[in-house]
Symmetry: C2
Amino acid sequence: MTPEKLKSPSRRADAARNREKILAAAREAFADPEVEVSMAEVARRAGVGMATLYRNFPGRRELLEALYVEVVDGILAAAEAGEGEPAGERLTAWLLQFLDFSTAKRQLVAELLSVDEDSRAVFNQNRARVLAAGEPLLAAAQASGEVRAELSLAQVLELVIAVGKIRGEKEFVEPILAATLDGLRPPD
Amino acid sequence: MTPEKLKSPSRRADAARNREKILAAAREAFADPEVEVSMAEVARRAGVGMATLYRNFPGRRELLEALYVEVVDGILAAAEAGEGEPAGERLTAWLLQFLDFSTAKRQLVAELLSVDEDSRAVFNQNRARVLAAGEPLLAAAQASGEVRAELSLAQVLELVIAVGKIRGEKEFVEPILAATLDGLRPPD
Protein backbone atom coordinates (compact mmCIF):
# COMPACT_ATOMS: atom_id res chain seq x y z
CA MET A 1 0.00 0.00 0.00
CA THR A 2 1.32 3.48 -0.85
CA PRO A 3 1.75 5.61 2.30
CA GLU A 4 -0.73 8.53 2.38
CA LYS A 5 1.94 11.24 2.03
CA LEU A 6 3.36 9.70 -1.13
CA LYS A 7 0.02 9.66 -2.92
CA SER A 8 -0.73 12.23 -5.57
CA PRO A 9 -3.35 14.89 -4.70
CA SER A 10 -5.90 13.28 -7.03
CA ARG A 11 -5.38 9.87 -5.43
CA ARG A 12 -5.91 11.43 -2.00
CA ALA A 13 -9.12 13.05 -3.27
CA ASP A 14 -10.26 9.65 -4.61
CA ALA A 15 -9.60 8.06 -1.24
CA ALA A 16 -11.59 10.75 0.59
CA ARG A 17 -14.44 10.36 -1.89
CA ASN A 18 -14.49 6.59 -1.36
CA ARG A 19 -14.59 7.00 2.38
CA GLU A 20 -17.48 9.47 2.07
CA LYS A 21 -19.34 7.16 -0.35
CA ILE A 22 -18.99 4.26 2.10
CA LEU A 23 -20.18 6.35 5.05
CA ALA A 24 -23.17 7.65 3.08
CA ALA A 25 -24.14 4.13 1.99
CA ALA A 26 -23.72 2.76 5.51
CA ARG A 27 -25.70 5.64 7.03
CA GLU A 28 -28.60 4.84 4.73
CA ALA A 29 -28.26 1.07 5.07
CA PHE A 30 -28.17 1.14 8.88
CA ALA A 31 -31.10 3.57 9.09
CA ASP A 32 -33.57 0.68 9.04
CA PRO A 33 -33.15 -1.16 12.36
CA GLU A 34 -35.22 -4.09 11.06
CA VAL A 35 -32.69 -5.04 8.41
CA GLU A 36 -29.32 -6.56 9.28
CA VAL A 37 -26.95 -5.15 6.64
CA SER A 38 -23.74 -7.01 5.74
CA MET A 39 -20.41 -5.38 4.91
CA ALA A 40 -20.77 -6.79 1.37
CA GLU A 41 -24.09 -4.99 1.05
CA VAL A 42 -22.51 -1.73 2.20
CA ALA A 43 -19.75 -2.11 -0.41
CA ARG A 44 -22.34 -2.85 -3.11
CA ARG A 45 -24.44 0.20 -2.16
CA ALA A 46 -21.36 2.43 -2.03
CA GLY A 47 -20.17 1.15 -5.41
CA VAL A 48 -16.72 0.21 -4.08
CA GLY A 49 -14.91 -3.10 -3.88
CA MET A 50 -14.54 -5.08 -0.67
CA ALA A 51 -10.82 -4.27 -0.58
CA THR A 52 -11.56 -0.54 -0.59
CA LEU A 53 -14.22 -0.98 2.08
CA TYR A 54 -11.93 -2.97 4.39
CA ARG A 55 -9.00 -0.60 3.77
CA ASN A 56 -11.20 2.21 5.13
CA PHE A 57 -13.03 0.24 7.82
CA PRO A 58 -11.43 -3.01 9.00
CA GLY A 59 -14.78 -4.22 10.35
CA ARG A 60 -18.41 -3.53 11.10
CA ARG A 61 -17.47 -2.03 14.44
CA GLU A 62 -15.12 0.58 12.95
CA LEU A 63 -17.77 1.54 10.41
CA LEU A 64 -20.46 1.93 13.07
CA GLU A 65 -18.08 3.94 15.23
CA ALA A 66 -17.32 6.30 12.37
CA LEU A 67 -21.05 6.85 11.80
CA TYR A 68 -21.56 7.42 15.49
CA VAL A 69 -18.76 9.98 15.67
CA GLU A 70 -20.27 11.68 12.62
CA VAL A 71 -23.59 12.10 14.46
CA VAL A 72 -21.85 13.49 17.51
CA ASP A 73 -19.90 15.88 15.25
CA GLY A 74 -23.30 17.11 14.02
CA ILE A 75 -24.42 17.80 17.60
CA LEU A 76 -21.18 19.69 18.22
CA ALA A 77 -21.57 21.73 15.04
CA ALA A 78 -25.13 22.63 16.03
CA ALA A 79 -23.81 24.08 19.29
CA GLU A 80 -21.86 26.63 17.24
CA ALA A 81 -25.00 27.91 15.49
CA GLY A 82 -27.10 30.90 16.47
CA GLU A 83 -24.30 33.04 17.82
CA GLY A 84 -25.60 36.45 18.89
CA GLU A 85 -29.11 35.15 19.58
CA PRO A 86 -30.59 35.25 23.11
CA ALA A 87 -28.92 32.55 25.20
CA GLY A 88 -32.19 30.83 26.12
CA GLU A 89 -33.35 30.51 22.51
CA ARG A 90 -29.94 29.31 21.44
CA LEU A 91 -29.99 26.58 24.07
CA THR A 92 -33.53 25.52 23.14
CA ALA A 93 -32.64 25.39 19.43
CA TRP A 94 -29.62 23.24 20.26
CA LEU A 95 -31.67 20.89 22.45
CA LEU A 96 -34.07 20.31 19.57
CA GLN A 97 -31.16 19.53 17.25
CA PHE A 98 -29.67 17.27 19.88
CA LEU A 99 -32.96 15.38 19.98
CA ASP A 100 -33.06 14.99 16.20
CA PHE A 101 -29.56 13.61 16.21
CA SER A 102 -30.16 11.36 19.18
CA THR A 103 -32.72 9.21 17.37
CA ALA A 104 -30.07 8.31 14.79
CA LYS A 105 -27.56 7.96 17.59
CA ARG A 106 -29.71 5.54 19.56
CA GLN A 107 -29.84 3.10 16.65
CA LEU A 108 -26.09 3.20 16.15
CA VAL A 109 -25.56 2.71 19.87
CA ALA A 110 -27.76 -0.40 19.81
CA GLU A 111 -25.92 -1.77 16.76
CA LEU A 112 -22.54 -1.03 18.30
CA LEU A 113 -23.45 -2.74 21.56
CA SER A 114 -24.59 -5.79 19.63
CA VAL A 115 -21.13 -6.00 17.97
CA ASP A 116 -19.09 -5.15 21.02
CA GLU A 117 -19.95 -4.46 24.63
CA ASP A 118 -16.66 -2.54 24.89
CA SER A 119 -18.12 0.26 22.79
CA ARG A 120 -19.04 1.89 26.09
CA ALA A 121 -15.64 3.60 26.04
CA VAL A 122 -16.53 5.24 22.71
CA PHE A 123 -19.88 6.39 24.10
CA ASN A 124 -18.37 7.88 27.23
CA GLN A 125 -15.76 9.73 25.23
CA ASN A 126 -18.36 11.17 22.87
CA ARG A 127 -20.77 11.93 25.69
CA ALA A 128 -18.00 14.06 27.19
CA ARG A 129 -17.66 15.89 23.87
CA VAL A 130 -21.43 16.64 23.80
CA LEU A 131 -21.39 17.91 27.38
CA ALA A 132 -18.38 20.12 26.68
CA ALA A 133 -20.10 21.60 23.63
CA GLY A 134 -23.43 22.24 25.39
CA GLU A 135 -22.19 23.47 28.72
CA PRO A 136 -21.34 27.02 27.59
CA LEU A 137 -24.84 27.30 26.09
CA LEU A 138 -26.54 26.24 29.32
CA ALA A 139 -24.24 28.41 31.45
CA ALA A 140 -25.04 31.47 29.32
CA ALA A 141 -28.80 30.81 29.47
CA GLN A 142 -28.64 30.34 33.23
CA ALA A 143 -26.50 33.45 33.69
CA SER A 144 -29.00 35.55 31.73
CA GLY A 145 -31.85 34.13 33.86
CA GLU A 146 -33.56 32.48 30.90
CA VAL A 147 -33.17 28.91 32.15
CA ARG A 148 -33.61 27.53 35.67
CA ALA A 149 -30.37 27.30 37.58
CA GLU A 150 -30.97 24.05 39.46
CA LEU A 151 -30.38 21.63 36.57
CA SER A 152 -27.06 20.51 35.13
CA LEU A 153 -26.64 19.90 31.41
CA ALA A 154 -26.68 16.15 32.03
CA GLN A 155 -30.07 16.53 33.73
CA VAL A 156 -31.48 18.75 30.98
CA LEU A 157 -30.34 16.26 28.32
CA GLU A 158 -31.89 13.31 30.17
CA LEU A 159 -35.15 15.23 30.38
CA VAL A 160 -35.12 16.05 26.67
CA ILE A 161 -34.24 12.45 25.76
CA ALA A 162 -37.03 11.10 28.00
CA VAL A 163 -39.62 13.40 26.45
CA GLY A 164 -38.26 12.57 23.00
CA LYS A 165 -39.09 8.91 23.61
CA ILE A 166 -42.80 9.59 24.16
CA ARG A 167 -44.67 7.84 21.36
CA GLY A 168 -47.77 9.20 19.64
CA GLU A 169 -49.05 11.48 16.92
CA LYS A 170 -47.13 14.66 16.23
CA GLU A 171 -50.03 16.75 17.57
CA PHE A 172 -49.90 14.83 20.82
CA VAL A 173 -46.14 14.73 21.32
CA GLU A 174 -45.00 18.15 20.13
CA PRO A 175 -46.90 20.22 22.72
CA ILE A 176 -45.36 18.05 25.48
CA LEU A 177 -41.86 18.81 24.21
CA ALA A 178 -42.68 22.50 23.73
CA ALA A 179 -44.09 22.76 27.27
CA THR A 180 -41.03 20.94 28.65
CA LEU A 181 -38.60 23.32 26.97
CA ASP A 182 -40.70 26.31 27.99
CA GLY A 183 -40.84 24.89 31.52
CA LEU A 184 -37.05 25.17 31.70
CA ARG A 185 -37.55 28.88 32.26
CA PRO A 186 -37.03 29.79 35.89
CA PRO A 187 -40.12 30.40 38.04
CA ASP A 188 -40.73 34.10 38.74
CA MET B 1 -70.28 -24.90 46.55
CA THR B 2 -72.60 -22.96 48.84
CA PRO B 3 -73.98 -19.85 47.12
CA GLU B 4 -72.57 -16.67 48.65
CA LYS B 5 -75.93 -15.46 50.04
CA LEU B 6 -76.52 -18.72 51.94
CA LYS B 7 -73.15 -18.51 53.70
CA SER B 8 -73.10 -17.41 57.33
CA PRO B 9 -71.55 -13.98 58.05
CA SER B 10 -68.46 -15.62 59.55
CA ARG B 11 -67.95 -17.80 56.48
CA ARG B 12 -68.24 -14.70 54.30
CA ALA B 13 -65.66 -12.95 56.47
CA ASP B 14 -63.37 -15.99 56.13
CA ALA B 15 -63.74 -15.88 52.37
CA ALA B 16 -62.90 -12.17 52.25
CA ARG B 17 -59.88 -12.76 54.51
CA ASN B 18 -58.64 -15.56 52.27
CA ARG B 19 -58.98 -13.38 49.20
CA GLU B 20 -57.06 -10.60 50.93
CA LYS B 21 -54.35 -13.04 52.09
CA ILE B 22 -53.93 -14.32 48.54
CA LEU B 23 -53.72 -10.82 47.07
CA ALA B 24 -51.18 -9.74 49.69
CA ALA B 25 -49.04 -12.82 49.04
CA ALA B 26 -49.26 -12.37 45.29
CA ARG B 27 -48.46 -8.65 45.52
CA GLU B 28 -45.28 -9.49 47.40
CA ALA B 29 -44.41 -12.49 45.27
CA PHE B 30 -44.83 -10.63 41.97
CA ALA B 31 -42.88 -7.59 43.21
CA ASP B 32 -39.62 -9.20 42.10
CA PRO B 33 -39.68 -9.21 38.27
CA GLU B 34 -36.68 -11.56 38.19
CA VAL B 35 -38.53 -14.44 39.80
CA GLU B 36 -41.29 -16.31 37.99
CA VAL B 37 -43.73 -17.21 40.78
CA SER B 38 -46.06 -20.19 40.36
CA MET B 39 -49.67 -20.35 41.57
CA ALA B 40 -48.58 -23.09 44.01
CA GLU B 41 -46.00 -20.70 45.47
CA VAL B 42 -48.66 -17.99 45.89
CA ALA B 43 -50.93 -20.47 47.73
CA ARG B 44 -48.01 -21.53 49.95
CA ARG B 45 -47.11 -17.92 50.80
CA ALA B 46 -50.77 -17.04 51.47
CA GLY B 47 -51.20 -20.11 53.68
CA VAL B 48 -54.23 -21.34 51.77
CA GLY B 49 -54.89 -24.52 49.80
CA MET B 50 -54.83 -24.70 46.03
CA ALA B 51 -58.62 -25.19 45.99
CA THR B 52 -59.14 -21.94 47.87
CA LEU B 53 -56.71 -20.13 45.60
CA TYR B 54 -58.40 -21.38 42.42
CA ARG B 55 -61.88 -20.69 43.82
CA ASN B 56 -60.84 -17.04 44.19
CA PHE B 57 -58.70 -16.74 41.07
CA PRO B 58 -59.23 -19.34 38.34
CA GLY B 59 -55.82 -18.57 36.88
CA ARG B 60 -52.68 -16.49 36.89
CA ARG B 61 -54.32 -13.97 34.60
CA GLU B 62 -57.26 -13.31 36.95
CA LEU B 63 -54.87 -12.90 39.88
CA LEU B 64 -52.68 -10.44 37.97
CA GLU B 65 -55.75 -8.53 36.83
CA ALA B 66 -57.00 -8.23 40.41
CA LEU B 67 -53.61 -6.85 41.50
CA TYR B 68 -53.62 -4.44 38.60
CA VAL B 69 -57.11 -3.17 39.42
CA GLU B 70 -55.98 -2.76 43.03
CA VAL B 71 -53.13 -0.48 41.93
CA VAL B 72 -55.49 1.57 39.78
CA ASP B 73 -57.91 1.80 42.72
CA GLY B 74 -55.02 3.30 44.69
CA ILE B 75 -54.46 5.95 42.00
CA LEU B 76 -58.17 6.77 42.09
CA ALA B 77 -58.22 7.02 45.88
CA ALA B 78 -55.22 9.37 45.76
CA ALA B 79 -57.22 11.69 43.51
CA GLU B 80 -59.70 12.16 46.35
CA ALA B 81 -57.00 13.36 48.76
CA GLY B 82 -56.09 16.95 49.55
CA GLU B 83 -59.52 18.45 49.14
CA GLY B 84 -59.49 22.16 49.99
CA GLU B 85 -55.82 22.57 49.07
CA PRO B 86 -54.75 24.84 46.18
CA ALA B 87 -55.65 23.11 42.90
CA GLY B 88 -52.08 23.22 41.54
CA GLU B 89 -50.58 21.59 44.62
CA ARG B 90 -53.31 18.99 44.69
CA LEU B 91 -52.60 18.04 41.08
CA THR B 92 -48.86 17.87 41.70
CA ALA B 93 -49.33 15.69 44.77
CA TRP B 94 -51.55 13.36 42.77
CA LEU B 95 -49.06 13.17 39.89
CA LEU B 96 -46.35 12.09 42.34
CA GLN B 97 -48.65 9.39 43.73
CA PHE B 98 -49.54 8.34 40.21
CA LEU B 99 -45.84 7.90 39.50
CA ASP B 100 -45.28 5.79 42.61
CA PHE B 101 -48.14 3.54 41.64
CA SER B 102 -47.13 3.33 38.02
CA THR B 103 -43.87 1.54 38.77
CA ALA B 104 -45.85 -1.31 40.36
CA LYS B 105 -48.36 -1.05 37.54
CA ARG B 106 -45.71 -1.37 34.84
CA GLN B 107 -44.55 -4.71 36.21
CA LEU B 108 -48.06 -6.09 36.38
CA VAL B 109 -48.73 -4.88 32.85
CA ALA B 110 -45.64 -6.70 31.60
CA GLU B 111 -46.66 -9.90 33.44
CA LEU B 112 -50.22 -9.64 32.16
CA LEU B 113 -49.10 -9.17 28.58
CA SER B 114 -46.87 -12.21 28.88
CA VAL B 115 -49.90 -14.28 29.93
CA ASP B 116 -52.36 -12.81 27.50
CA GLU B 117 -52.09 -10.23 24.75
CA ASP B 118 -55.85 -9.60 25.18
CA SER B 119 -55.20 -7.85 28.48
CA ARG B 120 -55.13 -4.64 26.45
CA ALA B 121 -58.89 -4.35 27.03
CA VAL B 122 -58.29 -4.32 30.79
CA PHE B 123 -55.61 -1.65 30.42
CA ASN B 124 -57.78 0.59 28.29
CA GLN B 125 -60.67 0.30 30.70
CA ASN B 126 -58.48 1.17 33.68
CA ARG B 127 -56.70 3.92 31.81
CA ALA B 128 -60.12 5.49 31.27
CA ARG B 129 -60.74 5.27 35.03
CA VAL B 130 -57.44 7.05 35.78
CA LEU B 131 -58.18 9.81 33.28
CA ALA B 132 -61.69 10.31 34.69
CA ALA B 133 -60.28 10.61 38.21
CA GLY B 134 -57.50 13.04 37.30
CA GLU B 135 -59.34 15.26 34.85
CA PRO B 136 -61.20 17.33 37.48
CA LEU B 137 -57.87 17.95 39.25
CA LEU B 138 -56.20 19.21 36.05
CA ALA B 139 -59.26 21.25 35.04
CA ALA B 140 -59.31 22.97 38.45
CA ALA B 141 -55.57 23.71 38.34
CA GLN B 142 -55.87 25.10 34.81
CA ALA B 143 -58.95 27.17 35.73
CA SER B 144 -57.09 28.73 38.66
CA GLY B 145 -54.16 29.53 36.37
CA GLU B 146 -51.74 27.31 38.28
CA VAL B 147 -51.07 24.88 35.44
CA ARG B 148 -50.50 25.58 31.74
CA ALA B 149 -53.65 25.28 29.71
CA GLU B 150 -52.20 23.74 26.53
CA LEU B 151 -51.72 20.19 27.84
CA SER B 152 -54.37 17.50 28.27
CA LEU B 153 -54.24 15.06 31.19
CA ALA B 154 -53.05 12.32 28.83
CA GLN B 155 -50.13 14.55 27.83
CA VAL B 156 -49.29 15.48 31.42
CA LEU B 157 -49.31 11.80 32.44
CA GLU B 158 -47.07 10.80 29.52
CA LEU B 159 -44.63 13.51 30.55
CA VAL B 160 -44.60 12.36 34.17
CA ILE B 161 -44.20 8.71 33.15
CA ALA B 162 -41.33 9.59 30.79
CA VAL B 163 -39.49 11.55 33.47
CA GLY B 164 -40.21 8.75 35.96
CA LYS B 165 -38.29 6.34 33.73
CA ILE B 166 -35.07 8.35 33.90
CA ARG B 167 -32.49 6.18 35.65
CA GLY B 168 -29.88 7.44 38.07
CA GLU B 169 -29.15 8.40 41.64
CA LYS B 170 -31.95 10.04 43.62
CA GLU B 171 -29.99 13.31 43.72
CA PHE B 172 -29.77 13.29 39.94
CA VAL B 173 -33.32 12.23 39.13
CA GLU B 174 -35.40 14.09 41.72
CA PRO B 175 -34.51 17.64 40.63
CA ILE B 176 -35.49 16.72 37.06
CA LEU B 177 -38.92 15.60 38.23
CA ALA B 178 -39.30 18.63 40.50
CA ALA B 179 -38.37 21.01 37.66
CA THR B 180 -40.77 19.21 35.33
CA LEU B 181 -43.70 19.55 37.73
CA ASP B 182 -42.76 23.15 38.46
CA GLY B 183 -42.48 23.76 34.72
CA LEU B 184 -46.16 22.85 34.36
CA ARG B 185 -46.93 26.31 35.70
CA PRO B 186 -48.04 28.64 32.92
CA PRO B 187 -45.52 31.17 31.62
CA ASP B 188 -46.20 34.72 32.83
